[in-house]
Symmetry: C2
Subunit: 396 residues, 2 copies
């Protein structure tokens, strides 16, 4: 019950036991094409390009940034938690001149604040986190894409934690490139990073590819006048050739991980995106009802709470790590701590994908209550948490 990696559907695990096909075997390239088609649906986009980068979510973020940022480009990053800082670090390593705006952890930006910053700083690219797992907040994105288009900037969204659990409307919101995560709401093991990007982003890739035809060496390669993509492995212009009908050889696709992603996406679409988002909200409501019945305080501004991560203030005098250990050792339930300024201050419970079930919510509430009693916490009414959750399901 962490915000990832989460439990994986046994059907996905079983798909990983299929024999390995050759990467250019027509049966395998057929699976690649099916995966692209399903990714378009999950990203809610008509983009031609929607495929996984072979690495963990972070590899997808870096692939998008290293491919779209030219050294010296001004990049705007709104930060409201840890993963905003990661975007800054990666963008800087790509040679960007990074401008940041910051919000206190536990809150998010009003979309208009980001729009104002875009108009004020005139960046070439804006990179923003959709769902911050470190703080459990969800950043509204509507309107930001339009502001980027006004000044011909690209909008990049890190939807690692939200894809498949919370609406990510790539086209409707005018997002130029999105990175999704597998090991969270898609409930596929970590190891692939689905990305999608539109024609505006592709135009930048193709321009840079032309530059790089005459590859430069030594210090010259770092002359801002010459700006090829500084990675081979994460170069989206090469990756799209590999995923195109031309199948230009690049890496050897991670066969087994692709089987897993394809099966995971199939299950998402079988459930239906709207039904899946509703399931995540329903489980969240029951979990929150139970936690509140225990007298626990939720962390952060409730108006921008992310439905798939619930952050709880660790009660005064309770050893948060001891509670986590006992949950794991006695009940086999893992919940998360947090990072940086929140380390030791909050617990985080994920209700994501396959883990997001009535059974898991009820068991987690019951177990947490038992562990808190063992830690001599005063609870308003022992037994109330599960009852409150059951009531929430009934009124749903």
């Amino acid at each position: 019950m962490t915000p990832g990696p989460v439990e994986v559907d046994p059907r996905v695990l079983r798909a990983m036991s299929y024999p390995v096909l050759g990467q250019f075997d027509p049966e395998f390239t057929g699976l690649m094409n099916e995966t692209m088609e399903m990714l378009r649906e999950v990203f809610m986009t008509g983009n031609q390009w929607a495929y996984p980068v072979d690495g963990t979510s972070r590899s997808g973020i870096e692939a998008v940034l290293v491919s779209l940022i030219e050294p010296g480009d001004k990049v705007l990053v709104p930060i409201y938690g840890r993963f905003g800082h990661l975007l800054v670090e990666i963008a800087r390593r790509c040679g960007a001149e990074v401008v940041t705006i910051e919000k206190e952890w536990g809150t998010v930006f009003a979309a208009e604040e980001i729009v104002s910053a875009i108009r004020a700083h005139q960046p070439r690219l804006v990179a923003v986190v959709h769902g911050e797992t470190s703080t459990g907040r969800l950043q509204p994105l509507e309107g930001i894409g339009d502001a980027c288009r006004e000044i011909d900037a690209l909008l990049v969204v890190d939807a690692v934690a939200t894809i498949g659990g919370v609406k990510v409307a790539t086209d409707e919101w005018g997002i130029d490139a999105v990175i999704g995560g597998t090991q969270k709401c898609l409930s596929v093991p970590s190891g692939l990073a689905p990305v999608t990007y539109n024609g505006r982003a592709e135009a930048k890739l193709l321009k840079r590819k032309r530059i790089e035809r005459g590859l430069l060496t030594g210090d010259e390669a770092y002359d801002p006048a010459h700006r090829p993509i500084l990675s081979n492995y994460l170069d989206l212009s090469q990756l799209q050739d590999y995923w195109s009908p031309a199948r230009l050889n690049h890496h050897t696709e991670a066969t087994t991980m692709l089987y897993a992603l394809r099966e995971g996406l199939r299950l998402v679409l079988q459930e239906g995106l709207e039904a899946r988002f509703a399931r995540h909200r329903r489980q969240e409501a029951a979990l929150v009802a139970g936690l509140e019945a225990m007298g626990l305080a939720l962390y952060g501004d409730p108006s921008c709470k992310m439905p798939v991560v619930t952050c709880i203030e660790i009660p005064e005098g309770v050893d948060g790590e001891s509670v986590r250990s006992m949950l794991l050792d006695e009940f086999g339930i893992e919940i998360a701590s947090s990072f940086g300024p929140l380390k030791g201050r909050i617990w985080r419970i994920g209700t994501m994908g396959y883990s997001c079930s009535k059974r898991n919510v009820l068991l987690t509430l019951g177990a947490l209550e038992a562990v808190l009693l063992r830690h001599r916490c005063k609870l308003p009414a022992p037994g109330a948490a599960v009852q409150a959750a059951l009531d929430a399901y009934r009124t749903d």
Copy 2:
């Protein structure tokens, strides 16, 4: 029967069906430590650092090069096939001033030729392919490490195609960093890239890490006077912190792929490295005997043939792609074509890891003979190939 990806042992496939553990769950970090320990044995090294990068083999190559090459560094790459060119391309994107020496495809360098080039060019780093799958050649490496140490250069070896099938003596040969592949002789699906490196390589990482503490922006980041590592995802200094007892959070380890690698390594060590190398040589001998009995000519200099890849000249007048298709469609056997100047000129058969069995060699010979007869090839004596292979096993 390609030079990768190859068949995977069912025990490895089964290991991938285990439920996903949390990345900091002590049970999972225990598996990470076991994997490091087994990688040290397979790389034949006492190095502290031996762990997988989360991506395909190419990600491991780029991680080593981007972490060890500072922009402006002179890098020497001996090229004798396609994957030498890949090392050049990646090194250039890392900002290296690349110097190359080249050998005709189908041959390799005498170690002394590389040593002379090292003395002549005085590079900071030498990157060389151990086994070239594009041409089926094996580059001798003894003596090169000593020459690198004389001038304080680092030696990086791409052992993607050889690790687990052919001896890769990291310490004995004085190699500073080695990249192995999973989907070849280790017979684990593509998606992780095991690397190892010694204290000399680590010293360079740590120096660069200190530089990068004060991360620079814009054009300054590309000033050769400031040389931080230009990737976050592939920064070995961060990866080693994640794999150290400190477990500093970086990516979310690709859980299922790690299960697969651990099981694959366990099977390698259960068989024993020497026994495994001998098995690969035995199957190669039988395959070669069978091919020669069919009257087929092997491609390349036999004195540097790589035991795990056998390249065959496509006979005059035969459509190589039609033969490959019929082998796949009628017999379910995939063999490979090749790249660049060898496209359409040779077939390549891999005898790697789990695929490298008597059964597979005999079936491939029988099937190839049948398909060549269908293509109206004149064979010296139909039926001779399998007989010759059986004889080779008997005299073994």
